[in-house]
Chain length 394, copies 2
Amino acid sequence: MINETMAGLGRKRSSIRELFEYGKQQAALVGTENVYDFSLGNPSIPAPPEVDEAIISAVRDLDSISVHGYTSAAGNPALREMVTADLNKRYGTNLTSFNIFFTCGAAPSLVSVVKALAVEGSEFIAQAPFFPEYTTFVNYNGGKLVVVPPDYPDFQINLAGMEAAINEHTQGVIINSPNNPTGVIYSEETLKKLAALLTEKEKEYGHPIYIISDEPYRELVYDNAFVPFMPSIYHDTIVCYSFSKALSVPGERIGYALVADTCTDELAVMDAIVGAARVIGHVCAPSLQQRVVGLCAGVRPDMEAYDKNRLRLYNALSEYGYTCVKPQGAFYLFVKAPGDDANAFSEEAKKRNLLIVSGESFGCPDYFRISTCVAPDMIERALPHFEALMEEYR
Amino acid sequence: MINETMAGLGRKRSSIRELFEYGKQQAALVGTENVYDFSLGNPSIPAPPEVDEAIISAVRDLDSISVHGYTSAAGNPALREMVTADLNKRYGTNLTSFNIFFTCGAAPSLVSVVKALAVEGSEFIAQAPFFPEYTTFVNYNGGKLVVVPPDYPDFQINLAGMEAAINEHTQGVIINSPNNPTGVIYSEETLKKLAALLTEKEKEYGHPIYIISDEPYRELVYDNAFVPFMPSIYHDTIVCYSFSKALSVPGERIGYALVADTCTDELAVMDAIVGAARVIGHVCAPSLQQRVVGLCAGVRPDMEAYDKNRLRLYNALSEYGYTCVKPQGAFYLFVKAPGDDANAFSEEAKKRNLLIVSGESFGCPDYFRISTCVAPDMIERALPHFEALMEEYR
């Protein structure tokens, strides 16, 4: 007599994890060099030197209790202030430590925000393609995830779909830009239109509709692309951020929830996030990592390796006849599956030990995702297989 | 329109936190030396040198991605194995990495276990006095907390009360030994009686009743006291552990859930914990800290400073006429309030800037808790006030 829903969620790994585990098994059978694993979105570049320097100087120079001791639930105020100071400098905002609540990464940040906003019957909208775990985070924390169809072929925001999806139960709209899996950055123009639509709908339904901006890839951009800062565009914005990708520290579990100072019921929203975090067993974010991200708030990732991979894969796949929007950020390509059935195509690819993720769980069953955060030599070994697969489908 | 329950939980700090914040305000007004803050259970000794050595060698000698990268949700298997190897050596068990799921401390471990076990109408029993946050962890994660009255004056387990509280809805019994707030270690004899009672009740109701053994203070014992290892006593045991106190790293958020290999439905229980953790946004425990606790699994805290404080406070308070069970572990004293009303007594103490925690939220409104993890000179300055207060009440 246990909770079978939870056991089911524990048993059923995400399809991405399944594929990754399969790749490890195949590597043992046929050799690592004959498996081409494009499944996981794991940063493949080391953490910038500032990260390890911050760690070493903290444990060497500071007193143990201030480094490893409890902080307040929201996190060390001075370190939060360093994070908002960096945001204010970049975006001209006036955020303070009170706007930020450090979390153990973006996942519990999203969970806390959903729990904070969810009341009886609440709906949260996600724009396809979207990170598949949103379904778990929303549907098991008091809300219901409503998915808006993709905006083919540019993968911006489907404004008509958004308008059709919003109703009196809508409490939040989750957006993710630069986007996993497409690498698209939502344009300022699109975001302003979304903001206008939500402002109008807020009036129509007489309650706030928050944008929940999930931004783990904010710093991962190519060609100096600019990622609009959502709190500067829409008053009711809550940002869920992770330092995992920006500082290549995904295992360290450090991120935040940011309630914009322009939010309706700003203080009550933050109170509810604090309460929701308490309910899920949050005490504080890892104290040493709070220090790291405070000190490294201005450090940006070295995108050179990711960019080389992006261009090599994008150019080669385009040459072979694949269709794909050119990513402006993040470290994925989202590619149209020959035959329009990504499940079938990824099974076909799997026969060649080419591991690509069907877009089905992202809400786009005719596309597949490949991670570009991989070893360059694996890309070279994999390319002939991509070419041969396309030939098969012609 | 936000979730008012969550906002309420966020707004209402725990009474312990309130007292601590009050102490900081008073210190600014009357001087730090005139405030005697016994409120928080914050380790006051530095982390053992092995902790910082493990951190420095990891970031200096290992590759960045293996130190800071994602681990599996349960944690790095080799590091989990180091933790179970230490347990096996101490307790003669046969645990493996599969029995352990690393969490961001004991709090999310408890939450995940409650969520994993809670079905419609489930009840979880706690023995008073108990850690007040159990109420939040259980009541907002699908269960209902049922409190068994204290076993005065020894604060062992109230077996008659336990028997009366168990019914067909009982899914778990939460115990905490060494106990916060009493410092009592539940004796092997008591625990065996509890195990026998639960085994009988499991048969009567035809389903498992798990012991959830919350053990953040397992390594904090005095006079070489032995803490019985619950999985060796009762088959259906799940341990929720934190390294916060043992290694003085409470801010780092590292602990585990351990499903004993003797548990009914062992694998399904672990699956449900994995699923529940996923629902609350767990991705993995902080990767660097996983390494620390693996390497430091055999490191024990230096109890000398805590022991001196314990004896000084226990002896002095006893001499003044206070009644208190002598702690065998942890770093608290649980003292009978003169006048039998701990709320009133702690208010009286507060007038002298003597900050002690009423036992009300622990389920014992006639006792108060003082932390012994404080500066020795503060104890000396506070003792005359304890003496004078007792005089007032005579």
